[in-house]
């Protein structure tokens, strides 16, 4: 899976499951910009596990502040899984 596919999957569930408007979804957006709170993040954790087949770890998220960084993280984890 290349980076574009990873980005499309993540952005796809943000628009479909969380009904976030597409114009808000850009790499510099923070969770707060997207209106994602901790309960939404519970859903995201479960979706990531289902879509990508690995579990996110707390230490993974320490330096993640924006959606772009989240894309990078998932892509890197996806690569290391392979």
């Amino acid at each position: 899976m290349d980076k574009t596919e990873v980005v499309d999957i993540i952005n796809g569930f943000l628009t479909e499951e969380f009904e976030i408007e597409e114009n808000l979804i850009h790499p510099d957006a923070t969770w707060s910009d997207l209106g994602i709170d901790s309960l939404d993040f519970v859903d995201i954790v479960v979706i990531i596990e289902k879509e990508f087949g690995f579990k996110l770890k707390g230490e993974d998220m320490v330096n993640v502040r924006t959606l772009g960084q989240f894309h990078d993280l998932i892509f890197q984890r996806q690569l290391s899984k392979q």
Binding site: S38, V45, K57
Partner: protein, 299 residues
């Protein structure tokens, strides 16, 4: 219920003062001094007074004098509970006796789960003894509160199998919860306070509408974690009664986001347990902020 700012009154200094009094003079003098401290709060803590008075006067329907006396007794009991907590954490637990109502339910939670509690009695007392289950035990608390008492917790809890999961803006606590549950650990958390901006669910509580945080119940349903409602109340000067309900698993039918009506059964079970306990121990309700939706109109 109004939102809470995530900070508990007092902090490390308070703990240290309690420890000093306890270690120097013992439990009885600490209790004696507490009468004056409680009276000070009774006279000068206007906002908490108003809220706790509302509970006794309007919610429980006490007469004016009985309600005011109950406010004072409530402060005194809170102080005693805090002193007891510090005493137990400092290794003076042998001075207290306990009876366990439902400990077997916790021992049976082999796959881990959530221990949902409230600001009634002292679940810290219960928490301090949960290592009897032999399981790794986590407490979920707001980061600001955690930072204030972290060094103290580290100091007194180093031998206990107890860990704090701080609730942080970067949402890493969600992953820590997930990891803990996957590791079949226990997580203790309160479900009777929320901070501003949190999602809440409205439920009838003691005959009036009140809001409760969705978070604890959402986690339970989303992760399919067993839930036990856990409380420890003070029954006499040196005796605590520990309650734990049989664990329940609440199922969500939806694939992703869980609608409010699916959370309700869990919230109602919690509220029902809370009501029963408050009926037995009304002086141990330690929530000093606006709790019921109609409080502002009447209080």
């Amino acid at each position: 219920m109004s939102s809470w700012d995530g900070k508990t009154r007092g902090g490390l200094t308070g703990y240290r003062i309690f420890i000093f009094i306890l270690k120097t003079f013992g439990l009885r003098p600490a209790y004696f001094l507490l009468n004056f401290v409680a009276f000070y709060f009774f006279l000068f803590s206007r906002k908490p007074n108003r809220h706790i008075f509302f509970f006794y006067r309007r919610v429980l329907g006490y007469g004016n004098c009985r309600a005011r006396l109950s406010v004072y007794r409530n402060y005194r009991l809170l102080g005693q509970v805090l002193i007891d907590k510090v005493a137990v954490m400092s290794g003076l637990g042998k001075h207290f006796t306990y009876n366990w109502d439902g400990e077997e339910h916790l021992l049976g939670m082999e796959e881990g789960g959530l221990l949902v509690s409230a600001h009634i009695g002292s679940w810290e007392i219960a928490g301090n003894f949960l290592h009897r289950t032999g399981k790794r035990f986590n407490i979920l608390m707001y980061d600001e509160e955690h930072q204030k008492i972290k060094s103290y917790l580290d100091e007194v809890m180093h031998e206990k199998n107890l860990h704090v999961i701080p609730i942080r803006d970067d949402l890493t606590h969600v992953l820590a919860i997930r990891k803990a549950l996957a590791g079949q650990e226990l997580i203790a958390l309160h479900a009777d306070r929320y901070i501003k901006g949190s999602k809440t669910i409205t439920c009838r509580f003691m005959g009036r509408e009140a809001r409760f945080p969705e978070g604890p119940f959402y986690l339970a349903l989303k992760f399919g974690a067993p839930v036990s409602f856990v409380f420890a109340v003070k029954e006499s000067r040196r005796h605590y009664h520990f309650y734990a309900t049989p664990p329940s698993i609440y199922r969500a039918s939806s694939k992703h986001s869980i609608p409010e009506q699916e959370l309700l059964p869990a919230v109602e079970d919690y509220v029902s347990r809370l009501e029963k306990l408050l009926g037995q121990y009304p002086l141990q309700w330690f929530n000093y902020h606006r709790f019921w939706d109609d409080e502002a109109e009447e209080g």
